[in-house]
Amino acid sequence: MHLNKAASALYGSLATAACIFLFSCGSGKKDDQKEVTSTKDTTAPAAAEHKGDQTSYTLPSPIQIASIFKKAGLTYYPNIGNAAENASKYNAGKVNESLNLGVYSADLSYCALNKQAQDARNYLKASRQMAEMLGLGKVFETDNLASRFDANLSVDDSLGPIIADMEMQTDLILQEREQEYISATVFAGAWVESMYIGGKVFEKGKGKNVSAHLIEQMAIANNIIKALKANESKDPAISGVASDIASIRDLFENFAGVKALTQDRDEVDFSKIAITDAEMAGFIKKIDEIRAKIVKG
């Protein structure tokens, strides 16, 4: 009996010590959002974790896509992008919100690279609103990004690096949180909006060189689809987005000029693909259709 009491007392002491140690260790790290606490491979689909040979993908930032189009002569037209005031209507879940964060990121990049300060400010506000809904408000607080943006609105070529910083912060926070499915849907939204803007400017006849870059962007359609499909289990709405991007890819791959160049080849130089005017019109129409689905909310 004495032995039981002694053992019980010993367990009690160990318990107290262990609990104190456990919680004191935990509290030191908990508030430090900088640190990564998981050992999982953030770039790989979870299901393939132990196969070890799976390939993951990088997707270009919206600001880089905007920069490529800008270099190709993409001119600025007001009101091509999604209206900033629509931000409040996107609340149908994380996929809907992240797609439209991507849309606004692309619109913001388009305005900023074309030095449209007021429109850029409106899109920054819309992007922030969407980011906060996704729990990414911290992005705008880090390194005073939002105030740096305001301070540089009238300074030529200074908004691009600030937007790039925002995109980098967003990428890394989502990777730390192992929420790469949000990264994939944000990128899908940004990519569709970038293609939409490129298509609209091309239709207005002031972006002849843009068509080649629209085609070149198709090189990453499969990567977007794979990134989305790898995360289908995270949210049932993701498979619908993957199907929409796949419908753009399938249409494109059935164009005669594309078939001729891609048949029986592992590596395709997308910059050498040419499509007819009718095909380009159909391609842009398909992008419009998918973009309309995203922005309607």
Binding site: T55, T58, N223
Partner: protein, 153 residues
């Protein structure tokens, strides 16, 4: 009885504590890695970043990242390996790991095995494939983080 319950609670606490031991307790300061990589990136502009958290397995294995590049752009690849406990191999190829006759474009071994930061510039519009070779080690042991940042100009 009260002490017995305390004892059981204590054992539960110990079990929870034990579960926090090992790989999952390891951390990386992502912001420090990002800031260093960003300095190495200048004057290139940020395009994309991949944070890879590396654990060893009983045998050597590879991870591959496909990187699409576009015409008219010059690219810089920055790898910061300061948060890795032991070195891993970093190689860049023109084709994926399943392709025959792929060409090695960059190797961390050639750049200096003791280096913790690798910078490589490239200006062709094509896809490239970044391969990490993680040497064999204790199965599931956390080896740290590797940050890959891509920039363009």
């Amino acid at each position: 009885m009260k002490k017995l319950l305390t004892g059981i609670l204590g054992l539960c606490c110990l079990a929870i504590f034990a579960s926090f031991e090992g790989p999952d307790s390891e951390t990386c300061d992502t912001n420090a890695l990002k800031d260093k990589a960003r300095k190495a990136m200048e004057p290139f502009k940020f395009d994309a970043a991949k944070l890879m958290k590396i654990s060893t397995r009983g045998q050597e294995y590879k991870k591959e990242i496909e990187v699409p590049l576009f015409s008219g752009e010059s690219y810089r690849f920055v790898f910061n390996a300061e948060a890795l406990k032991s070195a891993i191999g970093i190689e860049i190829f023109n084709k994926d790991k399943d392709s025959k006759n792929r060409k090695l474009l960059f190797s961390s071994k050639e750049a200096g095995a003791d280096k913790k930061e690798f910078v490589w510039n490239y200006d062709k519009s094509t896809k490239v494939y970044v391969d990490y070779t993680i040497p064999a080690g204790e199965n599931g042991a956390f080896n740290g983080c590797l940050l890959f940042m891509l920039g363009y100009k």
